[in-house]
Structure formats: C-alpha cells, structure tokens
C-alpha cells in the first residue's frame, strides 16, 4: 500500500522528540542562581518597560498586512491548480486567469491608493 504520510509523521516525531528533549534538558543541565534582577525581562539591559495589562495594543498595520496576505494567498491557492492543468484548459484558462488577476488587481490598486501599503 502506498502510504505517503507515515514517513512525514516519522520525521515529525524525531524532530519533535529532539525539540522537546532540548527544551526540557536545558533546565536540568544548566546552573540555577536565583536573584530578582535576573528574572526581570532583559529588554536592552536597563530597567524594563512596564507591560500593559492584557497585552496592550498592537498597531493596526500588522492586521492590515495579515488581511492583505490572505487576499493574495487565496489568489495563489487558485493559481496552483490552474498552473498544473493549464495545458488542458486551453485558451479558456488563459482568459479566465487574466480576468481573475484583473479583479484582484482592482483590489490591489484600491489598497495602494488608500495608503494600505505605506509603512511608516
């Protein structure tokens, strides 16, 4: 029987075992010298900035980037099967992809014009 998933799982198990072992062994092999300053966040070596409660706020730019990523990732997801069966789709496939890319590029142009791609 062709089972192509088992080798991936085997490699994942080995890597996972190695990673968990490394993370766990570190607390055993190393020395432990406790003092108050040591368990403060290091940041850049001086007194750490107080952390906001509940994680604080993150600039909206990052969410915007994530949303844009999804838009174009969906385009990629459609492009892959199209590329694989391109030869059998013929002229229809070509025009469909021009139309599809054009519709995505409308979104792209809109985002660009509205300053969604500016990062400052």
């Amino acid at each position: 029987m062709n089972n192509v998933a088992i080798p991936i799982l085997a490699l994942g198990l080995i890597a996972g075992a190695f990673a968990v072992f490394s993370v766990a062994i570190a607390s055993i092999t190393g020395p432990k010298r406790y003092n108050r300053a040591r368990v403060d966040a290091y940041e850049c070596g001086i007194e750490p900035t107080p952390q906001p409660m509940g994680g604080g706020r993150i600039p909206v730019k990052y969410y915007l980037t994530a949303m844009l990523f999804i838009v174009f990732d969906i385009e990629i997801v459609f492009l892959y099967p199209w590329a694989v069966s391109f030869d059998s789709l013929g002229i229809f496939g070509l025009f469909e992809m021009f139309l599809f890319s054009a519709s995505v590029l409308v979104v792209y142009a809109y985002v660009w014009r509205r300053g969604g791609l500016e990062w400052d």
């Binding site: 029987m1 062709n2 089972n3 192509v4 088992i6 080798p7 991936i8 085997a10 490699l11 994942g12 080995i14 890597a15 996972g16 190695f18 990673a19 490394s22 993370v23 062994i25 570190a26 607390s27 092999t29 190393g30 432990k32 040591r38 368990v39 403060d40 966040a41 290091y42 940041e43 750490p48 900035t49 952390q51 730019k61 990052y62 980037t65 994530a66 990523f69 174009f72 990732d73 990629i76 492009l79 892959y80 590329a83 694989v84 069966s85 391109f86 030869d87 013929g90 002229i91 496939g93 070509l94 992809m97 021009f98 890319s101 995505v104 590029l105 792209y108 791609l117 990062w119 400052d120």
Partner: protein, 430 residues
C-alpha cells in the same frame, strides 16, 4: 488518495518503503540537517571573517571546524532564565513550534534518483505526493507561529516588536515566493517535487524562467530573516528581536530553525530551478553522473552555493529600513511576479494553441513589452523632472529648520539650516 497517486506517473514509487527503511531515511534526514546546520554556521563565521580580513574561529578542532558543536554544548550548560513576565506554557512551546516544521519541510526534498539500500530499491527521498511543494509552503508557514509566539510570550517590548515584525515580514514575502512557483508548475505540469526534477531532465527551469528564479531568490532571503532583510533581529533597534529573552538550549533551537530554513529554501530553489539532484552541464556528459549516490554531491554542491550567496549578502549589504523593505515586497515584487505569470501563461498558450515556436512568441511578447517599458520610463522621467523642479523652487528660499518642532529633538540633515546657524550666516554676510 491512492487513486490519485496511481494516476500520477512516477509517484507510485513513494510510500512503498518498509518501516525500517522509513525510520532509517527519517533519521538520516534528521542527522544530515543537524550536521549541515553545524557546517553552515562554521562556514558562515569563517567566510564572513575572511571577507572582513579576520581569521575567524580557529581554536576548537582543526581550523576551528568544531566551533559550532562546542557552542551548542556550551549553550546546553548555560543557565536557563525565564523572565517573570513570560507566559510560561507558550514560552516553552514556541521553540518547539519553530524547530519541528523546519525539519519536516525536508521530507519531500529529493536528494537523488532510485538507489538500493540494503538490497531494497528506493528513491533517495523520504516521501512525495502530488502536492508536495504546497506541503512545504504550508509547513514552513507554521514556523512563523513559533516566532510570533516567542515574541509575544516573552513579556518584553523588544521581543514583541521583533516577533510582530518577523511575522509581517514572512507573510509579506511568502506571496512573491508562492507566485514565483506558479511558472514552474505551469511548465512542469505538476506540484510534486520529484516530478518537477524529472521535468528538468532537458533544460533547467532557471534558463526558461529566469525572472521567476530572481523573484524567488529575493523572496527567500526575506523569508529566512537574513541580511539585508534581517529586520526582526536589527540589533540597533530591537536588541535580539523575538529571541531576546531566550537563553540556553531554547535559544539554540531558534538558531537551529533559522539555519535549517536557510538550507530548506536553498534546497527548494535547487529542486525547482536548478534541476534538483541532476549534474550540472559539463559533468552531465559523464553517463553515470545522474545515477546511484553521485547526485547527492551535485545536490549538496548546489545548496552550498546558495548558502555562500546568503553569507556573501550578509558580508556585503547593509540592512534595509523596514518601510523600504515592506514597500519593496508589496509594491515591486508582487506586481512584477503577477505580471510575469501572465506573460508566461500567454507564451505557453500561444505555443500550445497557435503553435508558435519560441522565437515567434518571444518576438510578439518582447516588442510590446519593450515599448511599454519605454513609455513608462519616459513617464517616470517627466514626473521626476517635474518634482525636481518643484524641490528646486522650494530650496531657493532657505527654509529654517526647527530641531524641536516634533516630540523629539532632531539633528539637521545636510542642506537644512537651524535658526542659530542662519543668524550666524547673516552676521558673517554683514
């Protein structure tokens, strides 16, 4: 599933290995990746130091060759410090999440053709299925979780910023990376790595699809957080980035994941564009170059060329500013790669349907493209001249620069004159 594999030619050879062979191959890949990481680290330190007229590490082992191994041992014996503000469970989990996908992506990279291991014929590749490049993209994206969670769980401002930057950077450059593959799939007619290598038996895809390759190389440097795109680790701004608060072997795991990712993207570039394990031209004239265990030499040779380019870039180029970097990814690489895909598709369709040969297609595509580029160049030139003239008009009256206008005091740039300097100038003139 089985039907699919049966239908795809050449993929039937995968998934037939007995369990002992699967285990052997998996352990083999794991050991190779750890070894390659150790070699890459020492190679990087040596090459960078030669580029900077230093000797580099030369104490441990012959010529310093065991330095990275000793560094690993040293890290294991270091104290593990977990900041009080850290979210402990996620803080523990993050290095594991970063490290495991890095190893797992290598499962579908073809190292060579069919060989015989202890009398069992098997392809020199752990496994393969019809969508294996998609699998690589999917699994390597999981590694981003490790980085962003590491930054978030550390309870430190710089680590959080580094993690966010890193994730924004990686997802931004994943799009040009994914788009650069489309042209390869178009020509190979498959998303399986072994079939893509088989499709390059004649001409490598770097020859046919050079722009795709260039886009991929730029995207892969951004994707692995390497110089000149190593903004998540910009020391001057963020201390160490997402791993600032990590110590001991947990830190080593992040390092390991970064170097394995470097090797993986190089291996992917080799597989998709440089003919995979196939011998380069003068050697390929030798008949047995592409049989048996020899292809592993060509494969790792090609990877080490990529690794050298990574190191070379680090030794040569200064780091980009974050806004420049994002602008380059979203406003240059993305439209260029979509345009290139449409060009390739048109060329392919014109060959399939109208029966044009390559020269005719190239002529029909190149002439309008050149005209288009020329028009856009003139357009840009006119725009530049106009804006330059505007700037000159403004510069005629020397604007006074107030260093305390914003929240922070800012030193004047060349060409800007502060109030005191201006009055001094006026005194001199009178």
């Amino acid at each position: 599933m089985n039907k699919l594999i049966g239908a795809a030619q050449g993929l039937g050879a995968f998934g037939l290995d007995p369990l002992w062979l699967v285990a052997l191959k998996a352990v083999g890949i794991f050991v190779i990746l750890v070894l390659v990481t150790l070699i890459t680290i020492i190679m990087e330190r040596k090459v960078v130091s030669w580029m900077q007229m230093r000797v580099g590490p030369n104490r441990v082992g012959p010529g310093g060759s065991l330095q990275s191994l000793m560094d690993g041992v040293k890290l294991a014996l270091k104290e593990e410090i977990i900041p009080r503000t850290a979210d402990r469970a996620v803080y523990w989990l993050a290095p594991v999440i970063a490290c495991v996908p890095a190893f797992m992506t290598f499962a579908v990279i073809p190292f060579g053709p069919e060989v015989s291991i202890f009398g069992t014929a098997t392809p020199l590749q752990l496994t393969d299925f019809p969508v294996s490049v998609l699998y690589i993209l999917a699994i390597s994206s999981i590694g981003i979780y490790g980085i962003v969670l590491a930054g978030w769980s550390s309870g430190s401002t710089y680590a959080l910023l580094g993690g966010l930057r890193s994730s924004a950077q990686m997802i931004s450059y994943e799009i040009p990376m994914g788009l650069s593959f489309v042209a390869v799939f178009l020509y190979a007619g498959s998303i399986s790595t072994s079939e893509i290598v088989a499709a390059q038996a004649g001409t490598w895809f770097i020859v046919l699809l050079l722009p795709s390759f260039i886009i991929y190389v730029m995207a892969m440097v951004g994707e692995t957080n390497r110089a000149p795109f190593d903004l998540p680790e910009a020391e001057g701004e963020l201390v160490g980035g997402f791993h600032t608060e990590y110590s001991s072997l947990k830190f080593a795991l992040f390092f390991l994941a970064e170097y394995i990712n470097m090797v993986t993207v190089s291996a992917l570039a080799t597989t998709l564009f440089l003919g995979g394990w196939r011998a380069p031209w003068p050697i390929s004239l030798w008949e047995s170059a592409n049989t048996g265990w020899f292809p592993m030499i060509w494969f790792f040779g090609k990877i080490s060329v990529f690794i050298f380019v990574f190191i070379w870039l680090r030794g040569t180029l200064p780091r980009l500013r974050y806004d420049q970097f994002m602008k380059f990814g979203w406003k240059v690489l993305l439209p260029v790669s979509i345009g290139w895909i449409l060009i390739v598709a048109t060329a392919r369709a014109s060959r399939n349907i109208a029966g044009f040969d390559t020269a005719t297609t190239a002529r029909w595509l190149l002439i309008p493209l050149t005209i288009l580029l020329f028009i856009s160049w003139i357009f840009e030139e006119v725009k530049n001249r106009r804006s330059k003239r505007d700037v000159e008009l403004v510069e005629d009256e020397i604007a006074e620069f107030d260093p305390f206008a914003g929240v922070h005091p800012v030193p004047p740039l060349p060409g800007q004159v502060t109030k005191s300097e201006k009055s001094a100038l006026q005194v001199e003139e009178s």
